[in-house]
Subunit: 243 residues, 2 copies
């Protein structure tokens, strides 16, 4: 059986728009189950549905609870976000570390708990959580919107799985060093022929610069071919005269 991703739990959420935005953030990053504990404006909430566009599924399946203790009863592992350090004698994790742990404990039924927009989670609510997550923010402006806090956690959850991003794809195979070197030789010879290296003392430094360019470029074979083409074009007239 495929393990279920963590459940998102919102305690006393106020604005339907925020609930809808939470649903979108969840859908963006592979989360599926949303639980609301005593949402202020009741349920269903048309504003939530409107804001969720594309994530209506999550809104339609949202579960409503009257008490937090019921909402967390079937979970094995619950982490709560908290914007303030608290003397709760619980471990405090970064979003990234928490996401990794949640990924690792895939045999457990896991939940992420978020407080209401105005006041966050009370100490009484936080006691249900095994650990806290603090999202590092600029201390000068640390009030993170509810949907933004969920987004950060959902994003980290998703990254924790895919944190080896696929290598940037080049469309064509890379040039071999010999091919790069050959182009450098041709270019240097053409510049030499045109008196570019005067005075002669400038030559070694200039040559080094040009080779440094090319190696930094890490060109594809196609690009080396284009560079040869450019060189021929720029010299076009003299070449045709020679030929």
């Amino acid at each position: 059986m495929k393990p279920q991703p963590p459940v998102i739990l919102l305690v006393r959420p106020q604005l339907g728009e925020n609930i809808g935005a939470v649903a979108r953030a969840m859908a963006n990053f592979g989360l599926e189950s949303l639980r609301l504990i005593t949402p202020r404006d009741g349920w269903p909430n048309p504003a939530a549905r409107a804001m969720a566009k594309g994530a209506e599924d999550i809104v339609a399946k949202t579960e409503i609870y009257a008490h937090l203790s019921e909402a967390v009863a079937d979970l094995h592992l619950l982490y709560a976000t908290s914007s303030r350090a608290r003397a709760l004698n619980k471990p405090v994790h970064s979003p990234r570390a928490a996401a990794r742990t949640l990924r690792e404990k895939s045999s457990l039924k896991r939940g992420l708990l978020f407080g209401c927009e105005a006041s966050g989670l009370s100490n009484d609510e936080l006691k249900h959580a095994q650990a806290l997550i603090e999202i590092p923010c600029d201390p000068a402006f640390s009030s993170l919107n509810l949907a933004q806090a969920v987004l950060v956690m959902a994003y980290e959850w998703y990254q924790a799985e895919v944190h080896t991003p696929s290598a940037p794809r080049k469309s064509t195979p890379p040039a071999r060093l010999a091919e790069i070197d050959y182009f450098a030789e041709v270019l240097l010879a053409r510049l030499e022929a045109r008196g570019f290296f005067t005075p002669e003392e400038k030559r070694p430094g200039m040559e080094r610069n040009i080779r440094a360019f090319l190696s930094r470029l890490e060109p594809s074979r196609q690009e080396i071919a284009t560079l040869h083409g450019i060189l021929r074009a720029l010299e076009g007239r003299s070449d045709s005269r020679k030929g």
Copy 2:
């Protein structure tokens, strides 16, 4: 002098609410400078100000531009977010890798470019960027809201502070994007004059490839000067004939 954090640039943003939410996300994670390129509803925008609560400073100092090329002219390094893989021949980074690189290159004036809510960035707009950032999302629901995309990048920027190696120093100052762009224009004009773009259908792809080279190179001002010198030398005879 303390290095400035990256500038956030929004191309053709539509809703003031989103601009305000962007300002909040920036303030949460230590970003300061916002530039808008042709915002749909003009500027100032009361909805942006209302949504920005707590981040009014950023809104008040927001700079407005009529053209993207002007908005990026003083930057040295520009990364653009793109939700779709594109055949643009540019490196594609994860948000995390991009944030680390931006931190490392602290001596450069850096920017992060975001497209409009409806259509993102056009290929023509993306060409200004040296690299793309793709935010990994659930493929089943990958449309990330503008403010959410900015939030993810701002969050990663802030997290990247902790493990930043000292910036590798370049011996000469980096070229500005306007200087790189000018060299590209000169080179393309010279190639055009020499009939390089035949058949004409090849032109857009070829032009894109040449711009991709140059932006990948992240040249110094000295190197741009060298490239101009090489170009003049290769064309030497015809120039002197003209002159």
